[in-house]
Amino acid sequence: MSQTFRRPEGGRIKRNKPVAFRFDGRALTGYEGDTLASALLANGVHLVGRSFKYHRPRGILTAGAEEPNALVTVSRDAARSTPNLRATQVEIYEGMTAESQNRWPSLAFDASAVNDLLSPIFVSGFYYKTFMWPAKFWTSVYEPRIRAAAGLGKAPELPDPDRYQSRFAHCDVLVIGAGPAGLAAALAAMESGARVILCDEQAEMGGSLLSDPDVTIEGQSGRQWSTDVIMALALSDRVTCLTRTTAFGYFADNFVALAERITDHMATPPASSPRERLWQVRAKQVVIATGALERPLVFPENDRPGILFADAARTYLNRYGVMAGRKTVVATACDSAYLAALDLHRAGVEVPAILDIRREGGALTAAARAAGIRVETGATVTGTRGRLRVASVEFGHVQADGSVRHDAVLPCDSLLMSGGWTPTLHMFSQSRGKLRYEEVTGRYLPGRSAEHERSAGACNGTMALGAVLDEGYAAGENAARAAGLATRGTKTFAVAGATTPDGQVLGALPHDRNPGRVKAFVDFQHDVTAKDIKLAVREGFRSIEHVKRYTTTGMATDQGKTSNMNALAIAAGALDKPIPAVGLTTFRMPYTPTTFGIFANTSRGDLFDPVRRTSTHDWAAAAGAEFENVGMWKRAWYFPRQGESMHAAVDRECRTVRAAVGIFDASTLGKIEVVGPDAAEFMHRIYVNPFLKLEVGRCRYGIMCRDDGFVYDDGVVGRIAADRFHVTTTTGGAPRVLSHMEDYLQTEWTDLKVWLTSTTEQWAVIAVQGPKAREAIAPLIEGIDLSKAAMPHMSVRMGTILGVPCRLFRMSFTGELGFEINVPAAYGKAIWEAVHARVVALGGCPYGTEAMHVLRAEKGYIIVGQDTDGTVTPDEAGVGWAVGKSKPDFVGKRGLARADLLKPGRTQLVGLATVDPKVVLEEGAQITPDADPAPRTHAIGHVTSAYHSAVLGRSIALAMVERGRSRLGETLHVPMPGGAIAVTVVDPVFYDKEGGRLDP
């Protein structure tokens, strides 16, 4: 059996290019140009899935993006497996492997179909009502089973091997949708000389014209007209035509996101090509031409395979040469289904009857009868039969009192339905435009705009082809004019052979069955029936947003494209309110499911975040350093020797610094050059410290607060010249400190003449610390007298090192004699290597950030952001001495004087010595007065830093403790899961309290 439902001719598929593919392991063939859905239908396959809740057999319902049933997983290999694709949008390629979802063990026999028999218990809010007790069963029993049973395909567990790209684009006019309205709009915009982007989600542009054999435009067939227009657009160098490209998100100020699928339709994607491309388009003007979607009729058992939308069947016939069946009943409330019936009839398909719910029939009723088709008006489907595919249709006539009298059974193998058309408002609504409800036609339409866009064609409620083209052209012209281009005016298209799809019905249809026992589906993907929605209203839900969440209607991956209007009408009926009084749920992006890949794009792996490396990075890596991430920086953490543990390496590095000398890369410190005639005044105001009298060549440890008085950052500042300061900040604080400074400079002290420049990346900083630091650098430095008298502690000098200009700071973050050599970053590695050789010759070694932390903690030097947390004043952090109390103002002065900050009982920095010297406390651990505090007693502080100190031979810790400085000698406790740890409160300076080692 091969493509027995394919007509011998017709359609736009390439019959000379057969394509072999597999569906659920079964080998099938189709043609190039087929979607998976059209190829399956050509092979007589309607059953493609099981429904979400009841596991009912489901077939292909639509021919487009709105498909709720035919969800498949397409796999190229273990890593390239995409679930939840709509078979109606998937193009087949040679060798494609597709699988149906949500069935076990097979489509034809699904063990969970018993849910359908149990359906009386699967009512609205079923999960909420049933799985309430016992609570622990939810996570251990219910949820895993529900999730396993209600699968929507499986995401692959391997990393995505494909590449995704991103492109920013600007245009005068973006046209979304390339059906008749969109093509006319793009044509008008192009003729005005506008830069145009035209996108369409399908493989081929043309929209409804591709499946309409009857219409002529300007004397040509509709298909030929569209082909010519597409050619003209494609040849214009001002127009970008994008097929397989879904506009999925409309953001503020005409920023529209497009997902272009580049290789998914290819049998062998070229390795050079990305799989998808994200287009981020900023359009001056937008034309929305997204068309309309057909709606199902809500009658009992409207969900069997073989039941599909009438216009979808027409598309399969005319575009793909595929018949949905051989004996096709048509049920409709809209004229467009007659077109499908007439085309099928002409193609030799038996059409037993058209059942038109409208009492008077429609515009084509007479034509259908003239063609020999039985038409029953005022008739509706009351039920269907057939196990895995529809086999017969029951119908009856609607009586004057609204009841239905059963008439007959019509055997068939397919049933088409049309409830009318819903304008596709997603893009307009996402743009925050206001919808309006048109009472006469029972439709929501675009109302007031929020962005520079206009809708044209069916998405704007215009259904007649001639009017669609005229409106599309006018929209394109209007958009070009609004974008500032000269235009030629509007245009009228001569159209013949078009039928306007008039007529519709909303909500559930009447029937003669027991309403408690039948299922008439509204939301096919989430298995929500008319009954469920009525029940939700009976249970007290009034807002459509609540009805939606309680019944889950419209919450599936199709976002209710085919179901929302029917659900709304049913809810409105049950509430006895007009539709607009019940409201419409929100349209959210993305329009159709969009891959995570396109969002992650190139931001993965090494490119997820920028990595900042210092100039000695490669040297440190070669030296065997382990690195730690500090913000975006990679910093050398410690330098283990062969077989050395981290603990041993850090101990050795600390001892070496204290005994001889160590070399440390401090380049990541933030650096800001503060320059200008008012530079000193600016520093004086922005820091808590006094700066006016700092001599040129001297340094000061600066503390910066916010106006609330809390410590914001710290760092050593050197005065390079009367009008120039070299400011250092914490590694993580550099950007915010610069922003903080700029804020006051630009908005508060506009009188000051100061220029701020970030120089973090410009200087490499090599710290040389230890008793032999001077000896280490002396032979390399030129032009600076390093003697104690000439270059005291906390001074800065300009000179050269190995001929390279440098700013040499004498300062210490270890408590030892120390220097920090600043050289232009490009020389960083060379100078490092030279200094390192000297250090090693003197028995020293390089040390990393871990040793740096231990060494500074031994001295009680704080790290802002570790020992402080944004609620700590300078005094509380133990650096109150830095505050220039006589200054009339500085940032934080008034904040520090607030009564609440002066109250006793606030925390203060102290040292903690564990009673057991081997125990190292956990940073962040709470501190209590009692070893076993009563429940709900509060902690009096927390541990901020804790290390093992090799030099002291014991653990050390810093902590913020309430009234800490008055507790020296007190025993406190650090409760931990294994029991409380007893600690003694001590001075935060553990090593060299007198400071003699700083200035030997």
Partner: protein, 108 residues
């Protein structure tokens, strides 16, 4: 993504900017400011539904601070102006917006 007009650089995408909080909140002098006034300066903001005058910074552009009036419901920027310029009459701007909206409604 919003298009924000920097008074210096012109229209640029939102990601180049940083919101720096409400504008026209004067920094008190240390002398003669009560604790309550200081708390208001540090912590109290108007948070309106409607127009608000804000500080913005074109941080990934010219790096300049400027002020802007933005509608907190629609996110639309109504006007931008330089630091130091007087606060626009928000009520008058809101009335202009309402009149414009009414005109567009009538024009439909």
């Amino acid at each position: 993504m919003l298009l924000i007009t920097c008074p210096i650089c012109g229209p640029r995408p939102e990601i180049e900017f940083r919101n720096m909080g409400e504008a026209h909140i004067a920094r008190p002098t240390p002398e003669g400011t009560s604790d309550d006034d200081m708390a208001a300066f540090l912590y109290l903001r108007s948070n309106p539904k409607g127009l608000i005058a804000e500080r913005w910074r074109h941080v990934h552009g010219c790096a300049r601070f400027f002020n802007a009036v933005r509608h907190t419901v629609t996110d639309k920027f109504v006007t931008v102006y330089e630091v130091g310029a007087p606060k626009p009459d928000l009520a008058a701007l809101a009335a202009d917006l309402a009149a414009d909206l009414a005109a567009r409604e009538a024009g439909r």
